[in-house]
Structure formats: structure tokens, C-alpha cells
């Protein structure tokens, strides 16, 4: 008998694939357990009690594991609670769904914010010790989070996880461990983490502790958590040109920010050519002055000063610039590249450097093997300045050009051609999509390009 139980113990140990040293310690304790139980139960009980390993909570665990084992054996319907699958289980969740939806609707009457959302969670938690229907409730809550503006709030997610009853879903033996234990609950837990992921919310230690308390150390939600914690920090700073989550509200500030972003030159200076204002003119009609914000770097000014006045400069736009879910439009002042035959290379002044020659008088060039330059076939013309404005009509842009003339006198004698596309020129916000974070990443890539 003793040998038999011993054998069972070892086989359990190996099937359960626990670390060998820990299992040896458990083996003796386990032996003691099986012997103290009644013989007929040996097989089932042995399997069941395998996880009874550490002292103080052992008794409780034995009790609850009994309970869950029973559920496991007879819980076919629980497994397939998917509404589409079984007719008999379809009614219940639907009903409850409506009622939970109601819960949020009622709470949302006064205001939709974090406080009311938390209150709903509290109400649900305190209503019933057994937390009946918590999975359905959590799914509804997840959907409602964006509505209540708490979709990026880690504390709320943790609170939501707290709705799960603790320790009930932790597998107690190797069979449970091998099969998907409480799959619906685990699936729901994973869903919470997925939503956190899509909103870019990084879990914290509290999340981990909750997940361990609810699902145990090797459950699917924990795996999901581990994967999140593996990738999230790595991707956190993947965009070298991060856009702040909160963009400036004032369009002038937003333009300032955007222009600095596209200019990518720390020397570039932003000039406010026209303040936005609205005034009543003499005949009583409303006259709106759109804002004009421009940017130009000293280098651009230098290149512009060398522009040949007989060749036109172009004002082009609007071009879109995406900042997270906001799209702004900008205009550029540029010229066509000089045709190759008209290019004159400025000779290096031999009397320029007092100390060493700036050019060697040798007539052979770099060897091909050391030439790492790219040949760019199509050269783009130089961009002299950029601007953003409240309205993209010709008159407004002409005001920008006349403002530029103060620092770039050459514009006064250069023909300026306006090549404007008709199109949206106002600051736009696109509809909130399902995967805002993915979109952000895409935008980041676009910008980096």
C-alpha cells in the first residue's frame, strides 16, 4: 500500500513537471496526506491534493479544490457559455448583460467619470458575496470604459480585476493545470489585459498580484501579463519623435509645436505673423483674421538669399501632418532645383583659411571602394520656409510671404506662384477608432519617414 501510494506520488510529481527538489520535499508530506485519507479516494484524492503544498491555507484550499473539481467534472455548459453555441445558456447571459448595461446607464445619469465608474464596480462587488455573473459584468465594464473616459486608467483596470473572486480559479492539481482551467474566466482576464494593451496602459505590480491571486502563477492571464511586461517597456520609446498625449489646445501653440516638429532644426525660429482675432468691421460684418505661424531657420534664410530672382518661388500646400489622432495642414515656400547646366559651384577662396588649405590641388577623386555616398537621381528643390495658418486661402498666404519679406528682402523681387490644392485646412480630429495605439504607431512611422 505504502509502495503504491509512493508510486502514485512520484508519478504525480513527474506528470506535474514540478522542479525535482521541491517535489522531493513534497513527496513525504504528500505521502502523509494520502495515508490519512480514505483508501477509495486514493486515486482521485491524490490527484486532487497534489497542490496542497504549503501550510496555512492548505485547509481552505482542500475545501475549495473539492468544490472546483466537482464543477470541473460536471461543467460542460460552463465551458460553452458562448451565447452562439448553446441554446439553454443563451438566455442567462443576455439577460444579465442587459441588467449590467443598465447598471452603468443608471450611474451615467449624473456624470460619466472615474468616480461613477468606480462606484458601479463597488456596487457590483458588494451586491453578492459570490459575485455571480462577474464575467459578463466585466465584459460590459470593459466596453463602457471609453465612455467613462477611464480607458487609460491603470487604477480602474486593477479595480476591475478585483471584481474576480480570489483563489477560486487557481488550479489545484496537474490535470487542472494541464487543461484549460476555468477557461471563460481566464479568457475574460486576458481580455482585460488586451484592452490595456490596446490603450497602451502598462500593468503594475498590483495587477500582477491580483492576477496571481485570481488565476494562479501559471495561468493564461499571467502569461499575457508577462508578455505585456516583456514587450511594453521595449516599445515604450520606440518612436524617436514622440508626440505628447495631450496636444496644445490653442491652434497657434499647436502650429508652433507642429512646425518645430517638421522643421527638425534646432536653429529654426518660429514667427507669429498674424494673431488670430475676430472683429466687427465698420459695416457690422464679422471679420476673422486667421492666425499665421511660420518657421524658418538661418540656413534656409541663407539659401533663400542666394536664390536667383528670375526663377519663381512656389507656395505649396496644404500638406497633412498627423499628430496622434489630429491632422493639421501646413504650407511650404520652395523652389525648383536648378537645372544641372545652370549650377555654378562656388570656388573655394584660397585666401580663406590662415592656417591650412581648404582644398587640395590634386586631380583625382575618392576611390570607388571608399565612396559611400548615395547617388540621388531626382533632386528636390530647396524648401525656404514653412507655415501654418487658420485658413489656407491665397490672401492669408500672401500675408505670410509679405511677412517673410522683412527678413528675406529677396522675396520682394522674386515672382511668387501659389500652387494650392483645395482641401481641408482646418485642424481635424478623426473619429476614435478601435485600435488607437496601433494607429499612433503607424503615424509615428509615417512621421519618421
Amino acid at each position: 500500500m505504502l509502495q503504491l501510494s509512493n508510486w502514485i506520488c512520484w508519478s504525480v510529481v513527474y506528470v506535474g513537471s514540478r522542479p525535482p527538489c521541491a517535489s522531493k520535499m513534497n513527496a513525504t508530506r504528500f505521502l502523509f496526506h494520502t495515508r490519512s485519507l480514505r483508501l477509495p479516494l486514493l486515486c482521485v484524492g491524490g490527484l486532487r491534493n497534489k497542490s496542497v503544498s504549503s501550510g496555512p491555507i492548505a485547509v481552505r484550499q482542500v475545501l475549495s479544490s473539492d468544490h472546483c473539481a466537482r464543477r470541473c467534472l460536471c461543467s460542460k455548459p460552463v465551458f460553452s457559455r458562448d451565447p452562439s453555441q448553446s441554446e439553454e445558456s443563451q438566455d442567462k447571459p443576455n439577460k444579465s448583460l442587459i441588467s449590467y448595461d443598465d447598471l452603468f446607464e443608471r450611474a451615467a445619469v449624473d456624470s460619466k467619470n472615474k468616480a461613477t465608474f468606480s462606484r458601479v464596480l463597488d456596487v457590483f462587488k458588494n451586491k453578492d458575496v459570490r459575485r455571480r455573473g462577474h464575467v459578463e459584468f466585466i465584459y460590459v465594464a470593459l466596453k463602457k470604459m471609453a465612455e467613462f473616459g477611464v480607458e487609460r486608467d491603470l487604477a480602474v483596470y486593477n479595480k476591475l480585476l478585483d471584481v474576480f473572486p480570489k483563489e477560486v480559479f487557481i488550479p489545484r492539481n496537474f490535470i487542472q493545470r494541464m487543461f484549460n482551467h476555468y477557461p471563460r474566466q481566464q479568457e475574460c482576464g486576458v481580455q482585460i489585459l488586451e484592452q490595456m494593451e490596446s490603450y497602451g496602459v502598462m500593468p503594475n505590480v498590483e495587477t500582477k498580484v491580483l492576477l496571481i491571486q485570481i488565476f494562479g502563477k501559471k495561468s493564461h492571464p499571467i502569461r499575457k501579463y508577462q508578455r505585456l511586461m516583456y514587450w511594453f517597456p521595449r516599445f515604450k520609446h520606440v518612436n524617436p519623435y514622440p508626440v505628447p498625449r495631450e496636444l496644445p489646445q490653442d491652434p497657434v501653440d499647436l502650429a508652433r509645436f507642429s512646425l518645430h516638429r517638421i522643421a527638425a532644426d534646432l536653429n529654426a525660429k518660429v514667427t507669429l505673423y498674424q494673431m488670430p482675432s475676430s472683429d466687427y468691421s465698420e459695416d457690422g460684418s464679422l471679420v476673422c483674421q486667421p492666425y499665421i505661424v511660420g518657421i524658418q531657420s538661418p540656413d534656409q534664410r541663407e539659401v533663400l538669399a542666394k536664390h536667383r530672382p528670375d526663377r519663381p518661388v512656389f507656395v505649396e500646400g496644404p500638406f497633412p501632418l498627423w499628430l496622434r489622432r489630429t491632422c493639421v495642414y501646413y504650407y511650404v515656400l520652395r523652389a525648383d532645383p536648378l537645372p544641372p547646366e545652370e549650377k555654378v559651384e562656388e570656388p573655394v577662396d584660397p585666401e580663406r583659411n590662415f592656417f591650412y588649405p581648404l582644398e587640395l590641388d590634386l586631380d583625382y577623386d575618392r576611390d570607388l571602394g571608399d565612396d559611400e555616398d548615395f547617388d540621388v537621381d531626382e533632386e528636390e528643390g530647396p524648401v525656404y520656409a514653412m507655415c501654418m495658418t487658420g485658413s489656407g486661402d491665397r490672401d492669408t498666404l500672401a500675408k505670410w510671404i509679405s511677412g517673410l519679406q522683412e527678413t528675406n528682402p529677396i522675396l520682394g523681387c522674386t515672382p511668387t506662384v501659389f500652387r494650392l490644392d483645395s482641401g481641408p485646412s482646418e485642424v481635424q480630429s478623426c473619429a476614435v477608432s478601435d485600435h488607437p495605439e496601433i494607429e499612433d504607431v503607424l503615424q509615428g512611422q509615417k512621421m519618421a519617414q
Binding site: 590662415f354 587640395l360 586631380d363 583625382y364
Partner: protein, 626 residues
């Protein structure tokens, strides 16, 4: 195999014994010839770029006649006495001014006209003797800089390019120190860029004078100078009748009017020297006061700058020699853990380093000065620049190590060491920063070598089989024979047999340096001008080669004529050559294509990423991402 080797070695040893006797003869002969052969285009440094050593120029070590030696000793003694007794460097540093009494003393000693010919009332000393005096004047950095600003650059324009009338008019008063000169080149834009010169001189309608307007900054002696060498733009009509702005050098007296000086700048070191802004407002400069030709100021400026640098070597050496005395005294008396400081290896190392640096600097400085003293105004600008770079960096290193020997004491203002440290920092910056001079050194040689190699490389790129075969044969021969002989050592050599190993090392470096330059020119062509990290290594190797040549030449001479303590010189020379040889080999390896020792690409990338954002890029080590 081993037998063959030992046989070779024995044969070598035998020839060495014979060579010793021979070398003495050769040296004697050459020292005669050395002073007779007068080439206006000395090209020692340039020849190195071709992998050749121009023996005749560096060997034997230049010497001065007994009469000159007598003369200089008579001059040095009172100057030394004056500096020891009448110059209070601490006070000069604290009060940031040289007291009038000291200035008068300097004038009485004739130190304001060291190189002005005797016919104009100066001392008329050669470059070598000027260098010797520089050793003494460097006892006080402020005075050394004041004197250098006066005569190494301030009045050099008159000496180099001035006409007789200008010389007789200005030099006597400048020689006596009644007038003090200053050199006005730098403008707020930037120092080395002629394009930044905004000062303008306009010819008056009667064509008798120029009207000068403009501001100059950081002018040494600017506060009290009476004669300024000023560079300004003038309108010049060139051959095709086109009007151009060119730089012209003017001699401007303060008495011309319209000259104002700003307040003296507060500086880190050489605080006693007077550095100010100088403004010219409608100053009327007579046309006779143009130095050289109108529009020829650029050449004048370059020549002045190039000629003023060589003395820094002897000055730094003089300073280090004094530092060695002072710190050795300390190390010999101070006890730590029951042992004298001088018994610690780490302290001994510092003394060896200082002595070696001083020895090399001195050798380079006097070799260069001797070259410059040869008749025909030889162009030694590259050599002078090498002396400046080597000695300024050596001085900074040595002063720092001296301070280290003294520990906390060196840091205290009660002792002169921290002043030496502050004073010596400027050496790396002024008269052309070391970075700029490295470019000058490397590019001058590259231009020279490039010209000569152009034909060869062109033919090769065209696919001329003959040249290709010739180079191939040469390469094959070199790889097989493995013997590099440029004729320094051996029976016909110029180096003393006890320095043969070092001479061989030098030859090897020169040979491979020539090969490397060849390869670099082939690889980069004229775009090598943009490869500053490559050029820096080229310059460093060349400086080391020149330094090795100088010490070998000097030590050979010392042994041959039996100077006191020449065994110490041999020790220093051999040690230095071994170290420099190693450094050179490493740098030459770095210069090879796809060399694993070369990290230039990464270095550039790091810098680019930092400069793109103008900040230190890394996250703080305590930052977290989760």
C-alpha cells in the same frame, strides 16, 4: 635557421664596431657640409610623406659657433638673474598686470628686440638664440606672452615683409621697447576664417591714406600697444578689371587717432598679459604703412603666423625643466609611510615622463631653430607647427603630472604650480589651435606627396601594366626582404651605433608611413581634406617621426662629441623611440582600410547623435520604463 640568424647578428655587431669609427668621420664631414648646403626649400617633413628621410637636413644636429655660444651665455645670465630676482610672478598673476618696473627691466635687457637686426637697435639674434632666451622668459607666462605678442607676431610683419623705410622708422623704437607692438587679426566672427574679417580700409580720394574701420578682439598687448599690425579688407582691382575684396596688412600707430582699446579681459591663465578689444574708427593710415602689397595681406598673415611658433618648444622645455627641479626637491624630502616619495614607482614614472618630454621638446625646438637659421629663409612652417603641437601638449601633460606629484599642495594658490597649470593651458589654443595645426601639418604633406604620386596613381587607375608591374615588384621585394634601410644606421649611417635599434625603428615607421600615405591618397584623393580623423593620425605619426629624428640626431651628436651625461640622453632617446614606434605602428594600423582598430565611424555616429539633439542622449541609469 637560428645559426644563420646569429651569424647575421654577429656580422652586424662587427660592422657596428667599424661603423662607430666611420660615423664620427661622416658626422664631421657632414657638419661642415651641412652649413654649406643651402637649399631654400627645406623639405624634411614633406619628404617623410614619400617614405624618405632627408638625412642632410636633420643630421648632424645643428650647432652654433663658440662665439655665438659665448654671446648667448652672456645674455642669458643677466636675464635669468632678472627673472629670478625682480619678477614676482605671483603678484603679476594676482593683479593681472605686469608692473612698470618689471617692464622697464625687460626693456633694458633688450628683450623687446631680440630678433630685430642690430642696425635697428635690436639684439639681432638668430632663431636658435631666440629659442634659448625663450627658455628663460617662460619662467613667467604673462611676460612670455607679452614679449611674444610684441615680437613673434606683433612686429614680425615689418621684419618679414616691411620695406627699408618702414624698418628704419619703426624698428628702433620697437627694439628699445619704447613702442610696443600688437597683432590684430582675430575678429568676433572667428579666428582662422579670413571671411570673417569685417574691418575695412578705404582709400581716400587723394590716394594718400586709407581710412580704417573695424573691431578686433582678444588682442594681446591691445591695451598699451603703440604699433598695430592690422588686417583689413580693401578693394582691389584684379587682372580682369574686376573689383574684389582682399585682405591687406597695415601698420597702424595709436597716434593716427581713432584707436581705442576695450577693458582688459579676465582670463584663466597668463593673467598678467594684457588682452583687450581694439577698435579702429576712421583711423587714417598713410599708404606708406601698407605691409607688403595692397591685397597681399593674407600671405603676410600666414607667414607671420607660421614663423612665430617654433619658440614654444624651448619655452615649454624650459618650464618643464624648472618644474622637474621643484618637484624633485619635494619628492626627495617628503616622506609617506616611512618612505620617501621618490622611492615610489608611480612617482618615478612621472619624473621619467617629464624628463623625456622636456628632452624631446628641446631636441625638436633646437633642430627646427637650427634649420630655420640656415641661409635662404628656409620654409620650416610644418616643422614649427609640429614643435608647437608636441610641446604644448607635452607641457600640459607634464604640468598636470607635476601637480599630481605634489598632491594637494599643487592645488594651493600659495604655490606656483597651479599658476603654471593655468598658464600652460593657453599653449594648446593660441597661435593656431592644435587641431588646426594638425590639419595644416597633414594637409601640407598630403599636398606635396599627392603631387608626386598623381602621375603614378593616374597611370595605375588607367591600367598601365608597366607601372602596375613595377609597384607589384616593389611590393613583392618589400615583403620578401623585410629589410628596411633608409641609411640612418650602418657603416654609412648618421646615427651613432648605440642608437641603431631606435634608428631602425624610425626607418621602419618612415617606410610604412610613406606606404600609408600612398594608400590614403589612392583611397581618398583630394577628398581627404574631409577626413579629419585620418589626417589627425597622419599628423600624429609625422610629429612622432620628427620627434624621433630630433632625439636621434641630438643624442648622436652628444655621444660623438662627448657631451656630459650623454648616456642619459641615449637612454631617453631609446626609450622615447621605442614608445613612439609603438604608437606609430598602432596609428598606422588604424589607417589601414577596414582596420578593426579604427572606430572612426562609430565615433562620428556618437557625435552626430549627440549634436543632433544638442544634449547627452542616454537615459539616466536610474530611469525605468515600467
Amino acid at each position: 635557421m637560428a645559426k644563420v640568424f646569429s651569424g647575421v647578428i654577429r656580422a652586424c655587431a662587427l660592422t657596428h664596431f667599424r661603423a662607430r669609427a666611420l660615423t664620427v668621420q661622416v658626422l664631421g664631414l657632414q657638419s661642415l657640409r651641412g652649413f654649406r648646403t643651402q637649399s631654400a626649400s627645406l623639405a624634411f617633413a614633406k619628404d617623410i610623406f614619400l617614405g624618405k628621410i632627408n638625412k642632410a637636413e636633420a643630421f648632424p644636429y645643428p650647432e652654433i659657433s663658440n662665439e655665438e655660444l659665448e654671446e648667448i651665455s652672456q645674455l642669458v645670465a643677466p636675464v635669468e638673474k632678472f627673472f629670478m630676482e625682480d619678477v614676482d610672478s605671483r603678484k603679476i598673476d594676482l593683479e593681472a598686470t605686469i608692473p612698470p618696473k618689471t617692464m622697464t627691466g625687460l626693456k633694458e635687457l633688450g628683450l623687446f628686440g631680440i630678433q630685430i637686426p642690430e642696425e635697428y637697435g635690436g639684439l639681432g639674434l638668430s632663431n636658435t638664440m631666440y629659442a634659448r632666451l625663450g627658455e628663460i622668459t617662460s619662467m613667467d607666462g604673462s611676460i612670455a606672452v607679452t614679449l611674444a605678442a610684441h615680437q613673434a607676431i606683433g612686429l614680425k610683419g615689418i621684419l618679414i615683409a616691411g620695406n627699408d623705410e618702414q624698418k628704419s622708422r619703426y624698428l628702433p623704437k620697437l627694439a628699445s621697447g619704447e613702442h610696443i607692438a600688437a597683432f590684430c587679426l582675430t575678429e568676433p566672427g572667428s579666428g582662422s576664417d579670413a571671411a570673417s574679417i569685417q574691418s575695412r580700409a578705404t582709400l581716400s580720394e587723394d590716394k594718400k591714406y586709407f581710412v580704417l574701420n573695424g573691431s578686433k578682439i582678444w588682442i594681446s598687448n591691445g591695451g598699451f600697444a603703440d604699433i598695430f599690425t592690422v588686417f583689413a579688407r580693401t578693394e582691389v582691382v584684379d587682372k580682369d578689371g574686376k573689383k574684389m575684396d582682399k585682405i591687406t596688412a597695415f601698420l597702424v600707430e595709436r597716434a593716427f587717432g581713432g584707436v581705442t582699446s576695450g577693458k582688459p579681459e579676465d582670463k584663466l591663465g597668463i593673467r598678467g598679459s594684457n588682452t583687450t578689444e581694439v577698435h579702429f574708427e576712421n583711423t587714417r593710415v598713410p599708404v606708406e604703412n601698407v605691409i607688403g602689397d595692397v591685397g597681399g595681406g593674407f600671405k603676410v598673415a600666414m607667414n607671420i603666423l607660421n614663423s612665430g611658433r617654433f619658440s614654444m618648444g624651448s619655452a615649454s622645455a624650459g618650464m618643464i625643466k624648472r618644474l622637474i627641479e621643484m618637484t624633485a626637491e619635494y619628492a626627495g624630502t617628503r616622506k609617506q609611510f616611512g618612505k620617501k616619495l621618490e622611492e615610489f614607482g608611480l612617482i618615478q614614472e612621472k619624473f621619467a615622463m617629464m624628463a623625456q618630454q622636456a628632452f624631446v621638446m628641446e631636441s625638436m625646438a633646437y633642430l627646427t631653430a637650427g634649420m630655420m637659421d640656415r641661409p635662404g629663409m628656409p620654409d620650416c612652417s610644418v616643422e614649427a607647427a609640429m614643435v608647437k603641437v608636441f610641446s604644448s601638449e607635452g607641457a600640459w601633460m607634464c604640468v598636470s603630472e607635476a601637480l599630481q606629484i605634489l598632491g594637494g599642495l599643487g592645488y594651493m594658490k600659495d604655490y606656483p604650480y597651479e599658476r603654471y597649470l593655468r598658464d600652460s593651458r593657453i599653449l594648446l589654443i593660441f597661435e593656431g589651435t592644435n587641431e588646426i595645426l594638425r590639419m595644416f601639418i597633414a594637409l601640407t604633406g598630403m599636398q606635396y606627396a599627392g603631387k608626386i604620386l598623381t602621375g603614378k596613381i593616374k597611370e595605375m587607375k588607367k591600367g598601365n601594366l608597366g607601372i602596375f608591374m613595377e609597384i607589384f615588384r616593389e611590393k613583392l621585394w618589400n615583403s620578401l626582404s623585410k629589410k628596411i634601410d633608409l641609411g640612418l644606421a650602418g657603416p654609412d649611417g648618421v646615427v651613432h651605433p648605440s642608437l641603431t635599434d631606435s634608428a631602425k625603428k624610425l626607418e621602419e615607421n618612415v617606410f610604412y608611413f610613406g606606404k600609408t600615405v600612398d594608400g590614403l591618397l589612392y583611397r581618398f584623393g583630394k577628398s581627404i581634406i574631409d577626413e579629419q580623423l585620418v589626417l589627425k593620425r597622419v599628423a600624429d605619426v609625422l610629429i612622432n617621426i620628427y620627434a624621433m629624428t630630433a632625439v636621434l640626431s641630438r643624442a648622436s651628436r652628444s655621444i660623438t662629441i662627448g657631451l656630459r651625461d650623454h648616456d642619459h640622453e641615449v637612454l631617453l632617446a631609446n626609450t622615447f623611440c621605442a614608445q613612439a614606434h609603438f604608437q606609430n605602428n598602432y596609428r598606422l594600423a588604424q589607417l589601414e582600410k577596414n582596420s578593426p582598430e579604427n572606430h572612426d565611424a562609430s565615433i562620428k555616429k556618437i557625435a552626430q547623435q549627440i549634436l543632433e539633439r544638442r544634449t547627452y542622449v542616454c537615459s539616466h541609469p536610474l530611469d525605468r520604463s515600467f
